[in-house]
C-alpha cells in the first residue's frame, strides 16, 4: 500500500456511499442543497448553477458551481463528502467538451448558455 492509499484508507469512514448522489458531469445545471447554520437554527439552502469543475479525489473531492446573481458571477466550492452537503439534484444536462469550464467566466449574456447534452447525443441513441 503506497502513501496515498494509506491516507485514503485512514479516512475511508468519512466518505459518503458511491450512490449518495445522482450521476452528474461537468456542464450540468444542478441544485445543491447545503445545510447552513444560522445561530442555533439549521436550514437547507439551495444553490442552483452550472457545474464548472470537479477537483480532488477521495475525501478531498470538491465541486465548483457557478451562477449569476444580480448580473454578478458567483462561484461556490462544495466539498462533496461534507455532512452539510445534503443533496444534489440535476436540473439540466449540459454538453461540455472539457473538464473545467473556466471559459464561462469570460462569457457574457447568451454566450453563457451550454448546449443541452440530450440534444447533442440524440444521434447516439438512435443508432
Amino acid at each position: 500500500m503506497n502513501r496515498t492509499e494509506f491516507v485514503e484508507s485512514a479516512v475511508a469512514d468519512q466518505l459518503k456511499p458511491k450512490d449518495a448522489f445522482p450521476e452528474f458531469s461537468v456542464g450540468d445545471t444542478i441544485d445543491v442543497h447545503y445545510l447552513i447554520v444560522e445561530g442555533e437554527k439549521e436550514r437547507l439552502q439551495i444553490f442552483q448553477g452550472v457545474l464548472i469543475g470537479v477537483k480532488g479525489r477521495g475525501v478531498n473531492r470538491t465541486i465548483t458551481v457557478r451562477r449569476i446573481v444580480a448580473n454578478e458571477g458567483v462561484e461556490r466550492i462544495f466539498p462533496m463528502h461534507s455532512p452539510r452537503l445534503a443533496k444534489i439534484e440535476i436540473v439540466r444536462h449540459g454538453d461540455a467538451r472539457r473538464a473545467k469550464l473556466y471559459f464561462l467566466r469570460e462569457r457574457i449574456g447568451k454566450a453563457r448558455r451550454l448546449r443541452d447534452r440530450r440534444r447533442g447525443l440524440k444521434w447516439i441513441n438512435e443508432g
Binding site: R3, V7, A10, Q14, V59, P79, P83
Partner: protein
C-alpha cells in the same frame, strides 16, 4: 504520566467533524512499539521506560543491539526512545516485551509531536528569523531582504570589536528537532495503529515522530479550553 509512542508521519488530509466543518489533519501510523527495557532509580539512576519501534534488518544491526532487543523477546528495532516516569513504581508498571500501541492514548485529548523538520538549506534572515526586510521602493537599492545593521561594536557586554554571539543571521535552516505542542487528537484507531491529529507535524511524509500526551497546553490554547 501516561506512556509515549513512536510513529510514522503518513501525510495530511482533511477531516469532517460532526457539525460539518472540515479541518486539516495529519495521519500518523503510531506504533506498535515494544518495551525493551525498564529503567529504575536503583539500577540506572532514573526511572524510565525504553521502547523500540519499527523492525530493523538483522543484517544491518549490531549484535549488541540484537541481543538487547532479544532480551525483551522481540526482533531488533530500528528506533529506540524512552519516556521518563515519575517513580520506580510507575516504571515497574510496564514490563519488558509489552506492546505499546495507540490504545495508550485512550482518553487523551492533546498530544505533543516531535520530529526532525524538513531541511530548508541555506536561507536568508527573512525566511529564517522572520525579519521584516526593507521597502520595495523609496530609494532602497539591492537591500530588500538584507538583515540590516548587525550591531557595530557590541559584545555580550555591550562594547568591543565583535558581533554579539548568537546574532540572528542567514544560515542553514530546518533539519532540526521540532516539537509541536498541544495538537488535538481527532481520532485514534488501535486496530489500524492510526492516530489522527489536527494540523501539521514536523518533517517530511514517512519520517519518524515521537508522540506523547501533552502535560501542559500552551497558553492561548489553555485559555481557550478554560473558556469552553
Amino acid at each position: 504520566m501516561p506512556a509515549a509512542i513512536m510513529g510514522r508521519k503518513v501525510g495530511m488530509t482533511r477531516w469532517f467533524l460532526e457539525d460539518g466543518t472540515n479541518i486539516p489533519v495529519t495521519i500518523v501510523e503510531a506504533g506498535p512499539c515494544v518495551v525493551t527495557q525498564v529503567k529504575t532509580v536503583e539500577t540506572d539512576g532514573y526511572a524510565a521506560v525504553q521502547f523500540g519501534f519499527s523492525d530493523a534488518k538483522p543484517r544491518r544491526t549490531a549484535m549488541a543491539q540484537i541481543g538487547h532487543d532479544a532480551k525483551a523477546g522481540t526482533v531488533s528495532k530500528r528506533v529506540h526512545r524512552e519516556f521518563r516516569c515519575a517513580s520506580d513504581d510507575e516504571a515497574n508498571g510496564f514490563e519488558s516485551g509489552q506492546v505499546l500501541d495507540v490504545s495508550v492514548f485512550e482518553g487523551v485529548k492533546f498530544v505533543d509531536v516531535t520530529g526532525i523538520s524538513k531541511g530548508k538549506g541555506f536561507q536568508g534572515v527573512m525566511k529564517r528569523h522572520n525579519f521584516r526586510g526593507k521597502e520595495a521602493t523609496h530609494g532602497v537599492k539591492r537591500a530588500h531582504r538584507r538583515p540590516g545593521s548587525i550591531g557595530g561594536h557590541a559584545t555580550n557586554l555591550g562594547t568591543g570589536p565583535k558581533i554579539k554571539k548568537g546574532k540572528k543571521m542567514p544560515g542553514r535552516m530546518g533539519g532540526e528537532q521540532v516539537t509541536v505542542r498541544s495538537l488535538d487528537v481527532i481520532h485514534a484507531d488501535p486496530k489500524k495503529n492510526l492516530l489522527v491529529v489536527k494540523g501539521p507535524v514536523p518533517g517530511p511524509n514517512g519520517c519518524d515522530v515521537y508522540v506523547k500526551p501533552s502535560i501542559r497546553l500552551y497558553k492561548s490554547k489553555a485559555n481557550k479550553q478554560a473558556k469552553a
